[in-house]
């Protein structure tokens, strides 16, 4: 599979690059752009990022595999990130996670066969005041209860 940035993303990369002293420093935002376009980051994507930025592929791989928010394998259209860190745990974070698993019939770090959903257990996302919480892609859903969770999942189907 060949990966190429779209024209629009190339110009976004160009403007991102200007914010940093060198291209290596622009790697993280550029990886995000790549993930946005491709859904997840394959070796081909990393090679293309290295090429576009003029840095070594070995450095891209180092960064992409260090941060958990870069996906190196496919995730669902809706990527559910359920927090089980201290505050959420105390307020029922694990129950929320279990409910999600039960509802969707897949395990943590798995994708539904139709490619719609994937679940990830995450650490604190900075929303402790409204625990328990989960994030669906970039949106936060807070003060969760089982009912609310089911409602949200149903609305996404």
């Amino acid at each position: 599979m060949d990966f190429k940035f779209t024209e629009e993303n190339l110009s976004r990369i160009e403007s991102v690059r200007k914010k940093y002293p060198d291209s290596k420093a622009a790697l993280m935002p550029v990886l995000y752009i790549a993930q946005e376009q491709n859904g997840y980051i394959t070796r081909e994507v990393m090679d293309e990022v290295a090429l576009v930025l003029g840095i070594k592929a070995v450095d891209v791989l180092g960064v992409a595999t260090f941060y958990t928010m870069y996906h190196t394998s496919p995730v669902g259209k809706y990527h559910l990130q359920v927090c089980t860190n201290v505050s959420c745990m105390l307020k029922g974070g694990y129950e929320m996670l279990e409910e999600t698993v039960k509802k969707l019939g897949i395990g943590v770090n798995e994708v539904t066969p139709d490619g719609k959903f994937s679940i990830e257990e995450v650490e604190c996302m900075g929303s402790c005041g409204t625990a328990p919480m989960m994030a669906v892609n970039n949106d936060y859903f807070e003060n969760l209860t089982k009912e609310k969770l089911n409602e949200i999942l149903d609305s996404l189907k």
């Binding site: 070594k56 592929a57 070995v58 450095d59 891209v60 791989l61 180092g62 595999t65 260090f66 941060y67």
Partner: protein, 907 residues
């Protein structure tokens, strides 16, 4: 003078240097403390949490607190405890964590018995595994012919990437993943690109990176017979430890020398040794019997009798010596044929350039630094040398000198310089001034400001720098703007430097470059500045050769034209590598008898009428002089078969048999060395760089084998059930057995590094006066070249003219390859894999003009012959120049300077 501090460790008071960290101090005191991520050459990062000790506020503080010793500066009045139970428990706990994922595969691990992780685990007392879960596993990578990768063993100390990236400047090894899936490797399988990657074998505290060449003929480390040796693959003279078992050389390790190579070696030096085991080795004397056309094997006695008869019946015998043979070997041959008939087997051009380098250093006022001192220089100007390929370890030293200026910025922030992570965070990508002037792009360019041009252009830049420093130095005229600007900024940097260094050499076969480098140094000195000058030399004893002096190969060619000679003795030298084939052919045809002493078959041995099997570095003793003028002794590692003897012993035996009875007095190496000094007094002192053969400690010799050596009663069982008498060594105070003195030997006689509880290379700490400092008793070797402080050498004035490309003609510049340009290492299978195919290097402009790409082939007329060579494009090369890889297998030998015409292009 270092500031001293009094510290109390476990109730005992010590007076120590306060500029060091606590871990270094503890190790320098020869106390034991576990560590992983700290490395004496790379400083502290505090990553592994292994070196925890208790630190107390004052004498009333009984509880104390845990601190990492590697991160603690030594402070006067400090109270610490290594033995505190809580600290001990903490350290054992850390090892237990680190070991949770370790495969415990010591019995099948190449590192076993020489493993820092084993040593540290034992030292910590951790011995029972409580972790019951699955271990993480990895896929290993193919990393090339030199290194074997076994990631499961990793304990995440990060030393490999710190060495590879930060110290050696490599960029294709990195760390991936996070948490328990951290992975050290390349982004895909492939040969590690860095020339110093082999050091990972010693840098890795366990068996993640192991020596793949050893793996091919593996033997347990404690079963090796080892001896102190000196690398033969370039002129830098790194100290090595060579290990043998069952008549095969098994591996090379670094032999620490605080003044020369420190803790490291280049890959050519570490992995080039396998030529010793090559199938092309000459193991028996070969004679051409009368009436026969080909050589046949002979025994030692017959060979000596026959060859002595030839020499006795010859009217004139000519001897050709070699810069890859020891001083003693060359001197003995010279004694056989007399000074008049002795010639060095190197072209006049090389010989006179090297002589010039030596004279500048010996008769001038400029000091030449040791390899270790190069690391301390703060501004470096390199003229004409592709150091990574001509003197790799100097390139590694220059990479450290790059840090000298930026590291100073840590001082105002009170960050000690050993705080590696903090210093690097502060310094970022800032680099000290290094200038590289070479014809083509080189690896050191990444840390340097560069200049590209022909040898003459580089020399003109050198003259321009000298002229900018001192107004009375001869100046180059008609300089273009680039040279004016660059020479101005180089001279400014040099003037600001505390410890500037000029590096040059004879690689480009240009006298003007050697002169220009000297002029810069002279100009600096005139201006009252401190300056050092380093010249590279091509072979392990090139400097020894020109110190002995004499005549070069060209003169030998002339001599046979004038006067008939019947016998030629060539020692450890393949003349077909030295000059154009026709010239060597014509020369050899003049002789009835050609006696060749060598260890490996080559074009010259093919022409021999008698071949004598001599010992390589591993089967000989002798003395080499490195580029710095340091005389260093190397010792025989093993006795392969009785016919293989040192060149000097063979020649002496022939002399004695052919009637020169006075030489029967020469019995061991010391006799030869002393005879050499008597005739050439400037070698005075080289007989005492190592203890004499009669040296004993408490009546005992130094054993070449460690006390765990096994199998000596069984290893000859296929031949005899009686344990044979071990070979005797009359040339050194070392034995070929495991019996002898078990303490630390004198620094020049260290056959392996070992100390109770310290089985890995980290045992070096115990052999040093202080960590990273000189060995006990001083670093071995003796500098024979020291400057004359009052000398007032005059400037050289041969400023060359600017280079102007000529239409349809290309000026060849020599190109060097770390793997390929050296004669011996290419016989090692691993090195052989990395030797490039013959090619010609073109500039991008010329390639565009000729409409050729990297796939094209060019037809060139060189020395009356036509050669077809594929094209490689080098972005740095200037138009009108073409790079010609010298002495690469498959390339012909040419005399520089030479211009070629391109007679055809195949696209």
């Amino acid at each position: 003078m270092a500031k001293m501090a009094k510290i109390i460790i476990d109730g005992k008071t010590y007076e120590v240097d306060s500029s060091k960290n606590l871990l270094e101090t503890i190790l320098s005191l020869k106390l034991n403390l576990q560590y992983f991520c700290w490395h004496p050459a790379m400083g502290s990062v505090g990553a592994c949490r292994q070196c925890a000790v208790k630190k107390y506020r004052d004498e009333n503080d009984k509880a104390g607190k845990l601190f990492m010793a590697c991160m603690e500066p030594v402070v006067d009045g400090m109270r610490v405890s290594i033995e505190d139970p809580e600290a001990k428990e903490f350290r054992a706990g850390v090892i237990e964590w680190l070991m949770t994922n370790h495969p415990h595969d010591c019995p099948v691990c190449d590192e076993g018995g020489e493993c820092h992780l084993q040593d540290m685990t034992l030292m910590s007392g951790h011995n029972y595994r409580r972790f019951r879960y699955k271990k993480r596993t990895y896929r290993n990578q193919y990393l090339g012919p030199f290194l074997h990768h076994e990631m499961n063993r990793c304990i995440q100390c990060y030393r490999c990437v710190r060495f590879y990236r930060d110290y050696a400047g490599g960029d294709d090894l990195n760390v991936f993943g996070v948490h328990s899936s951290v992975y050290f490797g390349r982004h895909e399988d492939g040969v590690l690109e860095n020339e110093f990657a082999g050091n990972l074998v010693e840098v890795c505290p366990t068996g993640v990176f192991t020596d793949n060449t050893l793996f091919q003929h593996y033997t347990r480390k404690w079963d090796l017979t080892s001896a102190p040796s000196v690398c033969v693959h370039c002129g830098v003279g790194c100290n090595t430890l060579a290990g043998e078992r069952y008549g095969k050389l098994r591996r090379i390790l670094t032999r620490y020398n605080g003044q020369v190579n420190g803790y490291f070696l280049c890959d050519r030096g570490r992995f080039g040794y396998e030529f010793v085991n090559s199938e092309k080795r000459i193991r028996k004397p070969m004679l051409r019997l009368s009436g026969e056309n080909r050589l046949s094997e002979a025994d030692e006695e017959t060979a000596i009798t026959e060859i002595s008869a030839i020499i006795k019946s010859s009217r004139k015998v000519m001897g050709i010596g070699s810069p890859r043979a020891s001083l003693e070997a060359n001197f003995t041959l010279r004694s056989l044929v007399s000074e008049r008939n002795f010639y060095w087997g190197v072209p006049e051009q090389e010989f006179s350039l090297l002589t010039k380098e030596m004279n500048i250093l010996r008769q001038g006022s400029i000091r030449t630094p040791s390899l270790r001192e190069i690391e301390k220089c703060d501004v470096v100007v390199i003229l004409g040398e592709d150091l990574t390929n001509t003197a790799p370890m100097i390139a590694l030293a220059v990479r450290q000198s790059v840090r000298q200026v930026p590291v100073q910025s840590a001082t105002p922030y009170k960050i000690p310089h050993w705080q590696d992570a903090a210093v690097r965070e502060l310094v970022q990508d800032e680099k000290g001034p290094v200038f590289v002037a070479t014809p083509y792009a080189t690896k050191l360019d990444s840390v340097a400001r560069t200049f590209r041009g022909s040898a003459d252009e580089i020399a003109r830049l050198g003259y321009a720098i000298a002229g900018a420093i001192s107004s009375d130095a001869p100046k180059a005229d008609n300089l273009n703007e680039e040279v004016c600007v660059l020479s101005e900024s180089i001279s400014k940097a040099l003037n600001k430097a505390e410890r500037p260094l000029i590096i040059a050499g004879q690689s480009l076969k240009s006298e003007a470059i050697v002169n220009a480098a000297a002029n810069i140094a002279y100009a600096m000195r005139k201006a009252g500045k401190n300056v050092e000058l380093c010249y590279t030399v091509p072979e392990c004893n090139s400097m020894g050769m020109v110190m002995m002096g004499g005549k070069a190969l060209d003169q030998a060619f002339h001599a046979v034209e004038k006067e008939a000679m019947d016998t030629l003795i060539i020692m450890e030298n393949d003349l077909f590598r030295r000059d154009e084939k026709q010239a060597v052919d014509r020369f050899l045809k003049r002789f009835k008898n050609i006696i060749v002493l060598d260890y490996i078959e080559n074009a010259t041995t093919e022409r021999a009428t008698a071949i004598i099997p001599v010992g390589s570095f591993a089967e000989s003793d002798g003395t080499f002089v490195n580029n710095e003028g340091r005389a260093q002794r190397f010792y025989q590692v093993f006795v392969p078969n009785k016919e293989i003897k040192e060149s000097w012993r063979w020649v002496r035996n022939i002399m004695v048999t052919s009637g020169m009875k006075e030489f029967s007095r020469w019995k061991n190496l010391l006799d030869y060395t002393q005879a050499l000094i008597k005739e050439m007094p400037y070698f005075t002192g080289i007989d005492t760089i190592t203890p004499p053969p009669g040296f004993r400690i408490a009546g005992r010799k130094i054993p070449r084998e460690p006390y765990r050596y096994s199998g000596r009663t069984a290893m000859h069982a296929d031949k005899t059930v009686h344990e044979p008498k071990p070979p005797e060594d009359v040339d050194s105070p070392m034995s070929f057995t495991m019996e002898g003195y078990r303490g630390q030997p004198p620094s020049s006689l260290i056959p392996f590094f070992w100390s109770p509880g310290w089985n890995s290379a980290q045992a070096i700490n115990k052999y040093q006066i202080e960590v990273g400092g000189p060995l006990h008793g001083g670093d071995p070797g003796k500098r024979l070249i020291e400057p004359l402080p009052n000398a007032k050498p005059s400037y050289f004035t041969d400023v060359p003219k600017a280079f102007a490309p000529r239409e349809g003609e290309w000026m060849l510049v020599p190109v060097y390859h770390i793997f390929g340009s050296d004669e011996l290492s290419v016989h090692s299978p691993g090195v052989r894999e990395l030797v490039p195919k013959p090619y010609i290097m073109l500039s991008p402009d010329d390639a565009a003009r000729l409409q050729v790409t990297s796939d094209s082939e060019l037809e060139l007329g060189i020395g009356g012959q036509v050669e077809r060579l594929p094209v490689k494009i080098n972005l740095g090369l200037r138009p009108g120049l073409a790079g010609y890889p010298v002495t690469l297998p498959g390339m012909s030998v040419v005399r520089f300077p030479v211009s070629v015409k391109i007679s055809g292009v195949k696209k």
